[in-house]
Symmetry: C2
Subunit: 386 residues, 2 copies
């Protein structure tokens, strides 16, 4: 398994191989066309990341031959400048256009003769309604994205290095009084400077940077970053998060840390969180069902008396986004395979005490997993003396 | 018409009035429920802006009574902290969850007895498929959003002031060698500092800031910001763009400018663009059809010999986003009404010379329109001497 970092754009051969795999699966399902609207799926097959607005960008994948891509006229040069491989553009002037010249008229002109067309689970109703053929709901591109190619693994190794460097900096500069706004500006800036230095053609549309934290009084509420004036303070737990799409590939690393001392009430939750983390890292290996990892971790937390302190699954997939399928979740019965990538981030939450969660991005290998991100994780190392 | 700026969050009365108007329209269509997934529509009715990821947030609007909002368990405190008005949360533990406990099971438990359910044009197929009742495609919330309330007008006046101040700064600091990265960092920073000063509880999830420009060699390709190293230079046309959602309400202002001199080849296109702009500003008034504004502007450009230099419609709507329906487009036959808001931004594009486009955000009044953004627009004023 190649673990050297890669930061260049994909080659035509890489994208052709993805299209071939997709067309092979389309043949199994006897699909004449597959229609993709989901921007991350479009990016996966074209290297083009569109600004999502009301003008539809619709990728039309034929059973054989090159991709056709329905785009607004004003985006044609932009698409040509970023896309990789042979793609035929089908343009429409505007949204909405006069009768007979709309995006759905152009789409119909291409796929109107089809008998069976595959559509995604997230296909917007207006696109679904514009297909006159038999429509088969199937997520073939999402399925392909589950297993990373050697090139993708190289990109994710690179993304992991940048995210880890940002986390190292966040922990080094953590101190009482430091605000969320300061931490996000500095961390995002560091990551972006590194990206643009390594790859001057970095795509801002495929780059989303977050470097944030919660102090103790917020860390039980993991998605609430509403108060930008929140500040680090003595004690903790603080939960820090680097979650970023770095020029087209995602990475995540999170650490729970304390400043100068660990409150007594935080010691056991931290220890139990670490037990869940070690169990998840141990179980996340080929052949295991994803749901079984999550069930084992949840059972461990419940046995520790923390059934009421669970808010989420053990982990989510990682790839061209920083948050995607599949899931280390009790509801996902799929089997782990080499080349998949996940966050491992079991967490427990206590209003009045705080949240406890580390996260690392791992790659499933032939016989286990390896972390693509790294930072110390012991309570000793995460008690920062300032 | 009240034109004082407002920056506070909406009151319960404001959101109740929106819900009442929606329920009145639902009654006309005999809908038992209306299902909204579109995050901007959800924000319009709740003041909650969700981070869009794979876990669905589904707003369920009953024919009578308070909203019900299907959300992942881990987001409940976040939703409670931001939402305004009476909203019943319906939570699900995770995505995916074990059989019988998924989001669609919870949704079915609420709306399972319905006969007729309204769904949006952009409703994802998986949500559409989860509704067992008769499904009626109708965009009732989008329709409500067309006409701004006095409160919303105040928010848009405020947003226009911030965007205009950022444009003034961009023009003041424009000089040869200045990079896209510098301009975006400075402009976004200025807007954000102003927001957080005026309203410390600014919602980052409802804030999207862009302050960018194209130098002459890129300005014919209006959506391509791929080269972050692009720099201002002597001459032009440069096209500068402030397009921002400012704590929940959008604004846009754009100016075409030159540095130290105007290339000969740019003079006539600038003049013709200004003729299109004046015509659009004149015609955008109550009672006129949107398509007629665009047709008149396009005809003017075609008569000037620039049929091949058109890339887009005259303008788009503005509101809780910075880019939304309705459209000053040949394909939009709706009639302009007081309380609507649009960009006015006719543009023409010449590879090898550049792009020509000013944009302002206007509000339709009883007898015409008023600009919510402002900056000089003459060629003389837009020839910056440095």
């Amino acid at each position: 398994m190649i673990l050297a970092p890669i930061h260049h754009a994909p080659t035509t051969a890489e994208l052709s191989a993805r299209l071939e795999r997709l067309q092979a699966r389309m043949a199994e399902q006897k699909l004449d066309w597959y229609i993709s609207y989901q921007p991350d799926n479009v990016f996966y097959l074209t290297n083009f990341a569109n600004m999502v607005h009301e003008r539809p960008f619709v990728l039309m994948v034929p059973a054989k031959g090159p991709l056709k891509f329905l785009v607004p006229l004003l985006e044609c040069p932009h698409v040509r400048s970023r896309s990789v491989g042979a793609i035929e553009l089908v343009d429409y002037f505007e949204f909405p256009a006069p009768e007979g010249q709309n995006w759905f008229d152009r789409m119909q002109a291409v796929i109107g003769g089809a008998a069976r067309v595959g559509v995604e689970s997230v296909c917007p109703l207006q696109i679904y309604d514009a297909i006159s053929a038999e429509r088969v709901r199937t997520d073939l591109i999402d399925d392909l994205r589950l297993i990373k190619s050697p090139y993708e693994i190289g990109r994710m190794v690179y993304a992991g290095q940048i995210a880890s460097a940002a986390m190292a900096d966040l922990l080094e500069t953590a101190s009482p009084g430091r605000s969320l706004a300061e931490v996000n500006t500095r961390g995002s800036g560091l990551m972006f400077q590194r990206l643009i230095k390594d790859e001057p053609s970095v795509n801002p549309q495929a780059t989303k940077l977050a470097s944030v934290f919660h102090p103790a009084q917020y860390s039980h509420d993991p998605h609430n970053f509403g108060d930008l004036g929140m500040r680090m303070a003595e004690g903790g737990p603080h939960v820090s998060i680097i979650n970023a799409v770095l020029n087209g590939y995602g990475s995540e690393i999170e650490r729970t840390f304390f400043i100068n001392h660990v409150p007594e009430a935080a010691k056991r939750p931290y220890e139990v969180m670490m037990e869940g983390r070690h169990l998840a890292l141990e179980m996340t290996r080929p052949g295991t069902r994803m749901c079984d990892v999550d069930k084992a971790v949840n059972d461990l937390f419940k046995a520790a008396g923390y059934a009421e302190n669970l808010l989420h699954r053990t982990g989510h997939g990682m790839g061209v986004t920083a948050h995607e399928a599949p899931f280390l979740a009790e509801g996902d019965p799929r089997v782990l395979e080499p080349g998949m990538s996940f966050t491992i981030e079991p967490g427990i939450y206590f209003p009045g005490i705080g949240g406890f969660r580390h996260s690392d991005t791992v790659l499933i290998t032939e016989d286990g997993n390896i972390c693509l991100t790294s930072a110390p994780d012991t309570l000793e190392a995460m008690t920062l003396m300032r």
